[in-house]
């Protein structure tokens, strides 16, 4: 599994209300939620994103409520992966469950700037910043977590397990 795209950098403590404000929670539709992704941070934020781009966050990304709509809206915006210094706990779980890959890299986050072109080799646990020519390594995900993401999250994963 690998990803490649433009980095969109946001700050520390991005909460679930910044990711998807409560007024948009009247739907569970992925595309609709995606159209309003990060609307609580900056109006029209999502317009900068191309399909396959990468979100880059600071500390405690995803703090706040346990709404599963937050990772869904990021996916809906066309972003398949978030790299951050650290993530809030319930957001971390909900993201994997919804099929959004999260990568925690601590202080190395400083090596990525807004609009850098980056690629990620998930098997090896390597992020390459093509703009600056630097490499960041992180402990690769266990096989089962990768399998989980490959299937598109918890609902399809459980469905397949039950049918096996």
């Amino acid at each position: 599994m690998s990803y490649q795209g433009t980095a969109h950098k946001v700050g520390d403590h991005i909460d679930t209300d910044a990711i998807i404000p409560a007024r948009f929670l009247v739907t569970t539709d992925t595309k609709e939620l995606g159209a309003n992704c990060m609307e609580g941070l900056e109006a029209g934020w999502v317009k900068r994103v191309k399909e396959g781009d990468i979100m880059v966050g600071g500390e405690n990304f995803g703090c706040g409520s346990s709404r599963e709509h937050a990772p869904i809206s990021i996916l809906g915006a066309g972003i398949p992966v978030v790299v951050a210094h650290s993530f809030a706990r319930i957001f971390y779980r909900n993201s994997f469950n919804m099929g959004l890959l999260l990568i925690e890299i601590g202080d190395d986050i400083a090596k990525i700037s807004d609009r850098d072109e980056i690629s990620i080799d998930v098997e090896k646990g390597v992020i390459t910043n093509k703009t600056t020519g630097t490499e960041i390594t992180y402990p690769p995900l266990p096989t089962f977590m990768r399998e989980f993401l490959d299937k598109g999250g918890l609902i399809p994963y459980v469905r397949e397990k039950l049918n096996a």
Binding site: A88, I90, R93, F144, L154, I155, L162
Partner: protein, 418 residues
């Protein structure tokens, strides 16, 4: 590798070797829990997964506690759907009506949770069972649906903060004050993503109910769970409820991220002021705060020991005229015990309203909602803006004896001064 308490419990439930914090492990679960708010969503996800049978009909608990007795049409519809699911799945532990109590008081009382268990609940205060030495944590509804279907889930092994209480507790100071003191010290994100592990002579001397009160509020420090060692008191408590459990302490040489130590001798009763559980002050620093409502109850402090503590203060005294004092025993079992001991009569003689076993006002649900400008002191666990009603109301959190003393005084009061 030497394991902390949480690592020990996780290791019991996985084939993977637990070697460090941050590792991801797959574990089987002992019990999956949802309530009248979260079960409807979990059932929806369960169906979307194509699941037709829960992994074990004896190891799923559905507790319709938040709005019981159903307060309006919407809440009745929610419960109706869950009741139908429970019947279809033949769920053993489905509770509503007169069987129902606040989930985190009810499950320990019924012996459904205990030492070494892994409990996942679609409710953030699932961490309460850490008081019995269980690894218990709150998850989203879809996560709980997955656990209901598979009987397993994944966890990231958390680092542990050890909290040591030394000294001797003064009169009128107890478990609630210990946890408020900690949250005041480390803040609402102080244990983010981490486990808390409690230790020290004060912890050894606490009864099991006090330990559950402390574990209950681990989430208010951002914690994933809060665990207590399993000692003879725990074993006796669960044995009375038909379980056979074993002693459990952390391994010698276990690695802690941080150790926080308190000397509690001379400590005052603690109050969390609006609007965050970390705004903690000793009671003597909270002056001239008139209260309109007092609530004794919830999964934090609605157990029999809490009611005894409040009744001891209220006995022979009267609740101030302008105050509505509400006592909600957390389960029907606690209600009956309080009746037997004469506590209900004490409350009523003092002028309290004694209500059913429900979450009720704790989450601003029903049975004691605040108007604009009203102030409450409650034995509950959250004082976020608007938690008990109007966005313009205020909630202070305290122990049962401080709440009772405040009901009599009509303002936040120190039980030591009575």
């Amino acid at each position: 590798m030497a394991h902390t308490l949480v690592q020990k419990v996780l290791q019991k439930h996985t084939d993977q070797q637990i070697t460090e914090a941050g590792q991801i492990v797959q574990c089987n679960v002992s019990l999956a829990l949802a309530n009248d708010i979260t079960a409807p969503l979990a059932i929806k996800s369960f169906r979307a997964m194509g699941a037709t049978k829960v992994f074990d009909k004896d190891r799923v608990a559905l507790v319709m506690d938040h709005f019981t007795p159903q307060k309006d049409i919407e809440s009745a519809i929610q419960v109706k759907g869950v009741r139908e699911f429970a019947a279809e799945q033949d769920i053993t532990h489905y509770y509503e009506g007169g069987d129902c109590g606040v989930e985190h008081a009810l499950l320990p009382e019924l012996g459904l949770v205990g030492p070494g268990d892994i409990v996942v609940g679609a409710d953030s205060h699932t961490c309460t069972y850490g008081g019995l030495g269980a690894f218990a944590t709150g998850l989203g509804s879809t996560d709980v649906a997955g656990a209901m279907a598979l009987g397993s889930t994944w966890f990231k092994v958390p680092p542990t903060i050890k909290v040591v209480y030394n000294g001797t507790l003064p009169a009128y100071v107890g478990a609630k004050d210990l946890i408020l003191k900690l949250i005041g010290e480390i803040g609402v994100a102080g244990a983010l993503y981490k486990a808390l592990e409690f230790a020290g002579p004060v912890v050894d001397a606490l009864d099991v109910e006090g330990r559950m009160c402390i574990a209950n509020m681990a989430i208010e420090a951002g914690g994933k769970c809060g665990l207590f060692p399993v000692d003879a008191k725990t074993i006796a408590y669960t044995a009375e409820r038909g379980r056979k459990d074993e002693l459990m302490v952390a391994d010698e040489g276990a690695v802690y991220e941080r150790v926080v130590t308190f000397d509690v001798s001379g400590m005052s009763p603690q109050i969390a002021c609006p609007h965050l559980p970390e705004n903690v002050k000793p009671v003597e620093d909270v002056r001239n705060v008139r209260v309109n409502q007092v609530v004794v109850g919830s999964c934090t402090n609605g157990r029999i020991s809490d009611l005894r503590e409040a009744a001891a203060i209220l006995k022979g005294r009267k609740v101030a005229k302008h105050v509505r004092a509400i006592v909600l025993p957390a389960t029907p079992g606690i209600w009956k015990q309080a009746l037997k001991e004469g506590l209900i009569e004490t409350f009523m003689d003092a002028g309290c309203i004694v209500g059913p076993a429900t979450c009720g006002p704790c989450l601003g649900g029903h049975m004691g909602i605040l108007a604009d400008g009203e102030v409450a002191i409650a034995t509950t666990n959250r004082n976020f803006r608007g938690r008990m009603g109007s966005l313009e109301s205020e909630v202070y959190l305290s122990s049962p004896c401080v709440a009772a003393a405040s009901a009599i005084a009509g303002e936040i009061a120190d039980p030591r001064a009575l």
